[in-house]
Amino acid sequence: MFELTATPIDPADRARRLAAPEAGAAVIFEGRVRNHHLGQPVTHLEYEAFDALAQAEGEAIITETEQLYTGTHVHCVHRTGSLQIGEVAIWIGVASAHRAAGFAACRHVIEEIKRRLPVWKKEHHPDVAAEWVNCTTEAATNLTLSAYHTRHASLPEVGAAGQAKLTAARVLVVGVGGLGCPAALYLTGAGIGQLTLVDGGHVELSNLHRQLLFTLAEVGAPKVLAAAARLRLQHPAIEIKTHQGDLTATNARALVAGHDVVLDCTDNFTSRFILHDACQALGLPLISAAVHRFEGTLDVFQRGTGGCLHCLWAGRTASELEPQENCAGGPVFGPAVGVLGVMQAAETLKLILGLAGASAQQTRLVNLLDGSALTIERLARPDCPVCRRLDQLPAPATAQPSERETIWINDAQLAALGPTAKIIFLLEPGEMAPSTGRSNFLAIPAHDLAALREFVATGPVALSCRHGLRSAALARLLRAEGGPEIYALKAAPDQS
């Protein structure tokens, strides 16, 4: 319930009307007229509202808040006219089953009112002329913001000019999960001017260990709304746009257009290919990350530089790749998505600032279990249909990769390669070789590239590793060097 009123608000009466048997919590906020502002004494205030829009906007804020915080019921009344010191200018009451949602909803309503309700106030002072709040030159130049960014802008690599570039930048984050939360948070802190969030999901309890924009109060809420509310609290001037829905082949180009940099924080290959293809088509840089358990990869895709996502996966389609790396619902080490998401933010900022960033011709592999990092060349394949013909992007579902281009194989396909085919298991530091009883199985340290090259020269090899990430990456690397008979095995041998 939202109401504009020209008559005094009676808080006791309002509180009585908030009572409900199912409400275990009632949270009340009163905004009162204060006798000073920015060091100036204030004698009284005058509130003016654009009534029709204020009523519609106030109702919209309440509807959104009740959607964002499950089980809350919001009452809000805003004054207009002349108010004396100590009078209640706005009264917000939230009845809810539990306290967390109640406090969060109440805070959300006042923040949104301040941001978007078309209401203005004029301050009257005893000695100087009255003025409309937020409409003075001082408000326009905003000294607070330069103090906010001072520790960042004082880096010689950033400076005032760099900070202005960040303020002018428009960044798209697709996926507001384990990667998207830290990425968006650091982009917000850096003062990116406009951030667009795309995600069709809702906050779940099992998200909270790694998606730290969300708290218990937001469980059940649409992710983009919860994230936008949290990020707006972080930065006073950020403009956040939200798309509450999934990225699809139909809407991808429209969502991507109008941005300077795009972050791929998705958790599945279907979305990843759609987003990548839209960015390639529009010539926008894409900062992509993916995480499997303790390990993650980071790629910067720039049209015309290095291999594209189709080159990287040797023409395999999203549906072929999905079983190996679909992490939706799977186990994941919280800090791994945190580190990779923050790395995405770092690459985005450097790109906007014009600083040398991660090469667009390399894949970075980061392992949070053993602390190692590995950089692998990501070369363009001369026969890649996507790099070659950007205007006629094949739909991932209809692409037909030849057997020659296939990185992943299963046990049966391996056996078909003949009696000399070997499985090489890549050991991470401290890891014991699994015992399989197979004669064609051997284990070597993952970093021993010289030994790997020797084995590849002797006949067909299928690489395997604990998580399937490093084996595929090294198989692609060795193929690029000219070793055709190399594959990655679909399941670790002791699990097959």
Partner: protein
């Protein structure tokens, strides 16, 4: 071909109302977007408030400064708000 003027209604609030010296204005204009309209009003009504700090409402909904206007539209230029 000369463009047909649009008939528009503009309401002013707060600092803009004081600068314009009126609350409601009806006019015929060749402006085709709120941005063009505000530039015209800055000249005709001595509005000094900077355009880049304004939002706009078209027919009681937030709109864009570049949204095309049509005859009969009700326009409100919205300076930075200060509710609460």
């Amino acid at each position: 071909m000369a463009e047909t003027p649009l008939q528009l209604q503009i309401r002013f609030f707060a600092v803009l109302r004081e600068q314009a010296g009126c609350s409601i204005l009806k006019l015929a204009t060749t402006a085709r977007t709120p941005a063009e309209l505000y530039a015209e009003l800055q000249k005709s009504h001595a509005l000094t408030f900077p355009a880049n700090l304004l939002r706009v409402s078209v027919n009681e909904r937030y709109g864009e400064m570049q949204t095309p206007l049509t005859t009969g539209d009700r326009i409100v230029f919205i300076p930075p708000v200060a509710g609460g």
